[in-house]
């Protein structure tokens, strides 16, 4: 007397809701207001884009070596190409720039396998890139050994300096920030906790520009006579401490998002505090805060331009410096568009990388 349960067959969705027409309908012309806005947007693009493209590409001057080459009324990219090496390398001795290029190439060569899924020694390579590579990079940049000509840190500039500041700032601030976040969570160690809170709140409370100014102008006043720090080193330390406070707060958000049961399960298995944090809590917490961490990295990357206040010339500083050259007066638009483009490339890459990382680390569920 039993009947078999036979589910109804699956049917395809109605035709008007799928395909290109369905997409247009849903997204652009779903109602009267949307249709009007769509048409208005098309009108705006049609009036604004052609002149922009004309200036940027079609009417632009690309080749030459002085401003005389710029005659056609569009952008004068000759300015950028003529000054390109100073934008990239700052005042680094011209016949030594291969050292910087070598660093870039080596870095790319080291990083590339990290993006290959089947590569098995990612952790080892990551440790190498973070701990060993900086020494190699420093030796190449600074010189003075192995027959390399010694350079001054004041000769470091342009994009090289920007990348140096940003990468040191990020790499050094991340572990420090994680430790600060853990310290701030340590309710059973009130002294550690209040020190971390004090540190974080102090550094988050002051603007980066003040930090840089203090480190370069005020700090030497407090140091005993004869003791001096390199200006770049002081800026790097300032940026790192500043950045670590922000990272700490981002990481703390992630720690708070981990359910209490995860801590309890780790405890119940007998894991010690550091193993619990390192194996269970941080891997999950850091995964959650990837967008937040990358966000602070991007913000830092752009904030590095502030070092101009202490006389370090990053890529923006070099462009502004070039704009003061009497031979190139009046090409500030080109200079700033170029700088913006450089920054955009790097920031956009970071953003995309963080998204792909999020996707890769997503194990398909919460809790």
């Amino acid at each position: 007397m039993s009947h078999d349960f036979a589910p109804l067959p699956d049917l395809p969705p109605p035709g008007s809701s799928v395909g290109a027409i369905g997409w247009l309908r849903r997204n652009l012309f779903s109602n009267a207001i949307n249709s009007v806005l769509t048409l208005f947007a098309i009108y705006l693009l049609a009036t604004l884009l052609p002149p922009l493209f004309n200036w940027l590409f079609f009417d632009a001057d690309w080749f030459g070596d002085s401003r005389d080459a710029c005659t056609s009324g569009g952008a004068c990219w000759v300015f950028v190409s003529a000054r390109f090496s100073t934008f990239m390398y700052g005042f680094f001795p011209e016949n030594e720039t291969w050292r910087i290029n070598l660093i870039y190439i080596a870095l790319i060569a080291c990083m590339a396998p990290l993006f290959i899924d089947s590569f098995r020694h990612k952790v080892k390579l990551g440790v190498f890139v973070i701990f060993v590579f900086p020494i190699f990079g420093f030796i190449l940049l600074f010189g003075g050994v192995f027959g390399l000509e010694q350079t001054e840190t004041s000769q470091w500039g342009g994009l090289t300096l920007t990348l140096l500041l940003a990468s040191v700032g990020c790499v050094a601030a991340l572990p420090l920030g994680i430790m600060l976040a853990l310290g701030r969570q340590a309710t059973n160690m009130p002294a550690v906790k209040s020190m971390c809170v004090l540190f974080i709140e102090f550094w988050r409370g002051v603007p980066l520009i003040t930090v840089l100014f203090m480190s370069s102008v005020m700090l030497p006043l407090f140091l005993p006579e004869g003791v001096s720090f390199d200006k770049l080193l002081r800026a790097l330390i300032g940026i790192t401490l500043f950045q670590s406070a922000y990272i700490a707060e981002v990481v703390r958000g992630g720690l708070q998002a981990i359910p209490k049961g995860q801590y309890e399960a780790a405890d119940a298995l007998g894991l010690s505090y550091w193993k619990k944090m390192g194996l269970i809590i941080l891997p999950q917490a850091l995964k959650i805060v990837i967008p937040g961490i990358v966000n602070t990295f991007i913000a830092l990357f752009k904030d590095t331009t502030l070092v101009i206040i202490v006389g370090l010339l990053d890529v923006l500083g070099m462009v502004q410096n070039a704009l003061n050259d009497p031979n190139w007066l009046g090409y500030s638009t080109e200079g700033y568009v170029f700088t913006a483009f450089v920054f955009w490339i790097f920031c956009f890459t970071m953003s995309r990388y963080s998204q792909s990382l999020e996707r890769k680390l997503h194990t398909g569920h919460k809790r």
């Binding site: 309890e264 405890d267 119940a268 298995l269 894991l271 010690s272 193993k275 398909g364 569920h365």
Partner: protein
């Protein structure tokens, strides 16, 4: 490590002892003068209305909660604030939670092998072999490579039991292991627990599965408002409850 005790002597060996245990949450007195002894191989079921302190009591046994007065002695070691002793005891005491608490960023097998590798310092191969062995015991060896989020609740809870067993604990604590599960999945978890009970594991289980209590428990404890109201073997407990409060509780959960 304690040497294996021969079965005859085991009967009198006390695995868990609570003496005059008291605990407060701020001013709220959750546990009032709890006295309890659990012998090796004994299976205790703890029941009682919500808020009666039953979960708090078993969470005190592996120090997930701290008691403020009295003594808790687990496998001969007293629980104090000494971290090393706590970790020592936690190695010997497995716990299964209401919400499974599997580690979602690790595969099932990684969940199982983690503690043996990092707490018992076992090589990965050996730890994974033990993990597979227990996964087979809870009847889901085919799920080893999946992530916890891809499993059903019942499967997750069985993985959680296996995860605790991988540490070869001498005591297993269960904190409402089936109350977050769909009715269809409760049985598969209970079957695993019954099998475990029959293997001679010392168990303390907070649950409202009275069928489970009748089948395997040596003793059923009823708690209300932070106190142990009644503690008796299951036949006595179900057929002839002494306390009025117990009678009311039993009539409510069995009556319908």
């Amino acid at each position: 490590m304690t040497a294996a005790v021969p079965n005859t002597a085991a009967e009198n060996e006390v695995m868990i002892e609570l003496r005059g245990v008291n605990k407060w949450y701020d001013k709220f007195h959750v546990l009032k003068d709890i006295n309890l002894q659990v012998a090796k191989g004994e299976r205790i079921v703890v029941c009682g209305p919500s808020g009666s302190g039953k979960s708090t009591m078993i969470r005190c046994i592996n120090r997930l909660e701290e008691h403020q007065k009295g003594q808790i002695i687990v496998d001969g070691t007293e629980l104090t604030s000494d971290l090393r002793q706590i970790e020592q005891i936690r190695k010997e005491v497995g716990m299964v939670f209401q919400h499974f608490n599997l580690f979602p960023h690790l595969t099932v097998l990684e969940n199982l092998a983690l503690a043996p590798m990092w707490v018992r310092k076992m090589p990965r191969k050996e730890a994974e072999a033990i993990g597979m062995q227990y996964l087979e015991r809870v009847k889901i060896p085919d799920q080893a490579k999946k992530y916890p989020g891809q499993l059903s609740g019942g499967q997750q809870q069985r993985v959680a039991i296996a995860r605790s067993l991988c540490m070869s604990p001498r005591i297993m604590l269960f904190d409402e292991p089936t109350s977050a599960l769909d009715p269809e999945m409760i049985k598969e978890v209970l079957d695993v627990m019954i099998e475990l009970a029959e293997s001679g594991m010392t168990m303390m289980c907070v649950t409202h599965e009275m069928g489970f209590a009748k089948t395997v428990a040596d003793k059923v404890i009823f708690m209300d408002r932070g106190q142990i109201v009644e503690s008796n073997p299951p036949e006595e407990f179900f057929n002839n409850p002494q306390n009025e409060r117990t009678q009311l509780f039993l009539s409510q959960i069995i009556g319908h």
